[in-house]
């Protein structure tokens, strides 16, 4: 129950952050990705503001080695670069550049923009399709 309460609190903060920062507006995202047009650098400051909190926060937790509930933290991320990472990120970038939605802002728009409902259904279908690919050789 406590775990769920923390998750709800994190979700509320995340959703507020997306809405306050304007990242729920797909035009703002597309204009960030368009330095040759009417460039809007806001997204870079959203990332910067997030990392200014999370980089020291994660560093502190890494040193601590445990969560606040004294559970083990996940193992450090792998550093292996593979084709799945590169091709997947490239396809994600193309989709992001078409509509201006990545998963967070699309969900944040679910009660606000009708198009977000269509987008999220397509996103879940696309994710299902990716599961049909053979599993990675060794991880």
């Amino acid at each position: 129950m406590k775990r769920i309460a923390f998750a709800v609190a994190a979700g509320v903060l995340f959703g507020l952050g997306l809405a306050v920062s304007g990242m729920t507006n797909p035009d703002k995202v597309l204009n960030f990705l368009d330095p040759a047009g009417q460039w809007d650098p806001s997204l870079a400051l959203v990332m910067g503001g997030a990392l200014a909190v999370s980089v020291p926060g994660f560093a502190w937790l890494r040193r601590r080695g445990r969560t606040l509930a004294n559970e083990a933290l996940p193992a450090p991320p792998s550093s292996r670069l593979d084709a799945r990472l590169l091709v997947g990120s490239a396809l994600f970038g193309i989709g992001w550049g078409i509509a201006g939605y990545c998963p967070g802002p699309a969900l944040a728009n679910l009660t606000h923009a009708a198009e977000a409902i269509v987008f999220v259904i397509a996103l879940l279908a696309g994710s299902r399709l990716a599961r049909l690919l053979p599993a990675p050789a060794n991880r």
């Binding site: 995340f14 797909p26 035009d27 806001s42 994660f58 670069l81 396809l91 999220v120 990716a130």
Partner: protein, 141 residues
């Protein structure tokens, strides 16, 4: 459509997102990667409770803020392009194990080389796509 550069609200909103990611990692030891959380919430029964809680918190908090702020949603974006974009984002984030939040915020905070590469690749391809659609073909958005 042109948008104004909004540095103050961008930094404040960004800090809230960073706080959210840190909170989830500190309390549950989980990565706030939205693509992974939403897919797992739909497809897996185990650990569903916290994922649903996180998503409902996100959807309702952002929805209330947007409703109160009175901004108009985008309308009239072509449906075939919207569906193609959703399919690509869902397929690509599953294959590449993360999106803007998982790789861009949590991964970079964990100093992951994979995440740094992922961010550079999706930002590069995003910008390339916008360039082609707006300045070469010219038209959809």
């Amino acid at each position: 459509m042109p948008t104004a550069f909004t540095p103050v609200s961008a930094l404040i909103g960004g800090a809230l997102i960073g706080l959210a990611a840190t909170l989830l990692f500190a309390t549950l030891g989980r990565i706030a990667g939205i693509s992974g959380i939403v897919t797992a919430a739909v497809e897996q029964e185990s650990e569903r409770g916290w994922r649903i809680g996180f998503l409902l918190g996100l959807i309702l908090a952002a929805g209330l803020w947007l409703a109160a702020s009175g901004v108009a949603p985008r309308t009239g974006f072509p449906l075939p392009w919207l569906i193609a974009a959703g399919l690509l984002v869902g397929f690509g984030t599953r294959l590449g194990s993360g999106c803007t939040s998982g790789h861009g915020i949590c991964g970079l905070s964990r100093l992951s080389r994979r995440s740094l590469v992922a961010v550079l690749v999706f930002m590069g391809f995003g910008a390339l796509t916008v360039y082609v659609l707006r300045h070469v073909i010219g038209g959809i958005a």
